[in-house]
């Protein structure tokens, strides 16, 4: 029986989809069978972040409405044999799926996968409710900004009202230099305000932009601080006791030279 995790945030653009792609591929690289479900119907993005956009035939709405079998709609990631994507529909809207549909769908997926990771849309309306309904664990992504933390607080409140007991926090895009000179909220400040458990801290990392351009997960890149942080989160999800580590770019002569000649 697999575990269902929803990754959500309230505010858009804080890194939900990137987190889903990277935590998913990290878990798959640790021999877990993982399916990523894009619940952002009408504005799908997880497929492009994963580089699987050209392989979509059927989507989640086709499955819910009975035009395709679940197995037909799942796309296998060739880089990670244990990783699958269930894409969202692009030409429909959130109303095409109900929370009950999502619960039913995940019940079927649980039979085959160790982890079902749902990419929630921004907002607190139907799409959010769909994404959260089947989840055993909610991971809330925020950045150290007033607007993102405020929205995360709203999500914490809504999850409590929905009696979702397990929620964890990822603080994304932390810029250590800004924090140390007092120009960015620290992880401690954010935790102080939200008072939920931390599951990971991701530093701002330009490797994210590069890997998203290419449609590849970051976790294969050992020199990427964000990639290493996502691997740590995957280990924590598996129950390992991994201390929170703020990775920075190793700037030795070799990496500098590599960058100089444009070779990664």
């Amino acid at each position: 029986m697999g575990k269902t995790i929803v990754i959500t945030s309230g505010k858009g653009g804080v890194g939900k989809t990137t987190a889903v792609a990277n935590i998913g591929s990290a878990l798959a690289s640790m021999d877990q069978k993982v399916v990523l479900v894009d619940a952002d119907i009408g504005l799908r993005n997880l497929d492009v972040v994963l580089g699987l956009e050209n392989r979509i035939v059927y989507d989640i709405v086709d499955v819910v409405e009975g035009r395709a079998k679940l197995r037909q709609a799942l796309i296998k990631d060739k880089r990670f044999p244990n990783l699958c994507l269930l894409p969202a529909a692009q030409t429909r809207d959130k109303e095409a799926v109900s929370p009950e549909d999502m619960i039913r769908l995940c019940r079927d997926l649980r039979e085959e996968f160790d982890f079902i990771i749902i990419d929630s849309p921004a907002g607190i309306e139907r799409g959010f409710k769909n994404a959260v309904a089947p989840a055993d664990l909610a991971i809330i992504v925020t950045t150290p900004e007033v607007s993102a933390v405020r929205d995360a607080d709203r999500i914490v409140g809504l999850l409590e009202a929905m009696e979702k007991e397990e929620s964890k926090l990822i603080v994304n895009r932390v810029r250590t230099k800004l924090v140390s000179r007092g120009d960015m909220l620290s992880v401690e400040d954010v935790l102080d305000i939200l008072s939920i458990d931390l599951i990971g801290v991701i530093p701002e990392d330009e490797h994210i932009i590069i890997s998203t351009n290419r449609g590849e997960p970051l976790i294969n890149n050992n020199s990427a601080p964000a990639g290493r942080s996502f691997l740590d989160i995957a280990r924590r999800i598996l129950g390992e006791d991994v201390p929170i580590n703020m990775y920075t770019e190793d700037e030795n002569l070799f990496t500098r030279l590599k960058r100089l000649i444009g070779w990664r």
Binding site: V146, R150, D183
Partner: protein
Amino acid sequence: MSTIIESIKRLFAHETSSKEIAKERLKLVLIHDRSSISPEIIEQIKEEMIQVISKHLEIDRGGMDFSLEGEEDSIALMVSIPIKGMKRNKKKSRD
């Protein structure tokens, strides 16, 4: 280097760091978000206060300001009511 210079500048200017400002703003906005005091209730409190205070003082209704403010875990209703003038106590004026 610029970081050190910035910090020194701040030290001398007694300037609050932008992070502290962010934290304070966030705390305040969350007090509003988390509080279940509806705008209708605030409006009602306002009306009742005006009634009571107007018995004794002449107040400027347009310049009134009501807001919820908080420090740490406590929350306060801050009311600012400009006074135009004292109403003469009728009993005394007769004397």
